[in-house]
């Protein structure tokens, strides 16, 4: 789970142009200025990296990295 959270943090940080250490997994992605299009870009990264299909509404439903990590973890376990 920590690896997943770390990977997601790196992806989000890359889109925000920030260092991963500046991103808290419990803070809303919108609060960092990550707009919905980049949230979808993260969804695309998840699909490619884990070879799974993700519901696009996740971009709105999962507001933090912690929530995203929980969701992806569940999907991977269900596979």
């Amino acid at each position: 789970m920590d690896d997943l959270r770390s990977w997601l943090t790196q992806r989000v940080a890359s889109y925000l142009g920030k260092d991963p250490s500046e991103i808290s997994p419990s803070v809303s992605l919108a609060a960092y200025g990550l707009d919905s299009v980049y949230a979808f870009a993260v969804c695309g990264d998840i699909e490619d990296h884990f070879d799974l299909s993700i519901d696009p509404t996740v971009a709105w439903d999962c507001e933090t990295i912690d929530a995203l990590a929980d969701h992806v973890s569940t999907l991977v376990e269900q596979r």
Binding site: Y15, D35, A41, C43, G44
Partner: protein, 310 residues
């Protein structure tokens, strides 16, 4: 009761891949990928060298029921999203009126609800015609705009805008598509449109599906039916994923939202639902007696839905 006599559409033949517009639209690689992969966007139509006049006249020229009925047309209403598109004193809507020989018609433009102005125009046309008291009187509605400037070629974070036009002949009896109900709601706090602050933009993203759902439900309620009775939703073609979200919220089957044109035309300002109406007809998606809903959202916080019976 307001009804549609005929709907005609003109889509410029030139298909343009949005990937080829990446630099022009200032899209980053991740943004383009999200647009193509999740938003369902692929191509738009453009008519280089064509004018707004050409676009509207091409659609209106396909209205077979207009021929020989020109003197019955009392109003020509252009529904626009972009307030200014020609230099004064030129006016596309007046030039189209003249070109079609609609000498008895009063011509004007409405922009009050941005991309939701198309449905407003149908409602307004019905009210004006009803006030005339002449059951033979008609109104011509024109929708569809040029994407002259970079600023109007996208809705940032939501859509790529294309060129395409629709022309509607509206009456108050005898038409084949009757208006059963109309609902519109304005969220004034989003009035700055494309210039929303980050906080207001985040607010808009959250409000959006609920606001669409609210007008859909209000419109079917005014029509005296329920969402279960709706055979088809003719949406705006902003993107696919926003309709996935709305459908999930209201428990409406996504397959009953006609999304076929999202990858083909992108968002054509006020004309989307009308373009989709023609597509529904061509695909045999509307049967006599079907109730269907046209839905539109205008930048600035305008949400509208109109229920028809085919």
């Amino acid at each position: 009761m307001t009804d549609l006599r005929e709907v005609a559409v003109h889509l410029p033949p030139r298909r343009v891949a949005i990937a080829s517009l990446q630099d022009e639209l200032g899209l980053t690689d991740p943004q383009l990928r999200a647009f193509e992969r999740f938003f369902g966007l692929s191509h738009i139509r453009r008519e280089p060298g064509g004018t707004g006049f050409d676009l509207m006249l091409a659609a209106a020229g396909k209205l077979s029921e207009l021929r020989g009925q020109e003197d019955r047309v009392r109003y020509v209403i252009q529904a626009r999203s972009i307030p200014v598109a020609t230099a004064y004193p030129r006016s596309d809507v007046h030039e189209v009126r003249r070109a079609l020989g609609l000498g008895r018609a009063e011509a004007f433009t409405i922009v009050h609800q941005a991309c939701a102005s198309g449905l407003l125009a149908v409602d307004l046309a019905g009210r004006l015609l009803a006030a005339e008291g002449d059951p033979d009187a008609l109104a011509l509605i024109l929708a569809g705009e040029k994407t002259y400037t970079t600023m109007v070629r996208t809705v940032p974070g939501a859509a790529v805008n294309g060129e395409g036009a629709a022309a509607l002949l509206v009456g108050t009896g005898g038409g084949h598509d009757r208006v059963l109900g109309y609902a519109t709601r304005t969220y004034g706090r989003f009035n700055s449109g494309l210039a929303l602050t980050d906080a207001l933009n985040a607010d808009f993203q959250q409000v959006y599906p609920n606001a669409v759902a609210e007008v859909l439900i209000a419109a079917v309620d005014r029509a005296g039916i329920s969402l279960d009775d709706v055979a088809l939703v003719l949406p705006h073609n902003v993107n696919r994923v926003s309709w996935v979200r709305v459908c999930r919220l209201i428990g409406f089957p996504l397959e009953r939202v006609l999304l076929d044109n999202v990858p083909e035309t992108g968002h054509c300002f006020c004309a989307d639902s009308f373009i989709n109406f023609r597509t529904a007809q061509e695909l045999g998606r509307l049967q006599p007696g079907d109730r269907y809903v046209m839905a539109a959202v205008g930048i600035g916080g305008f949400f509208s839905a109109m229920v028809f019976e085919h």
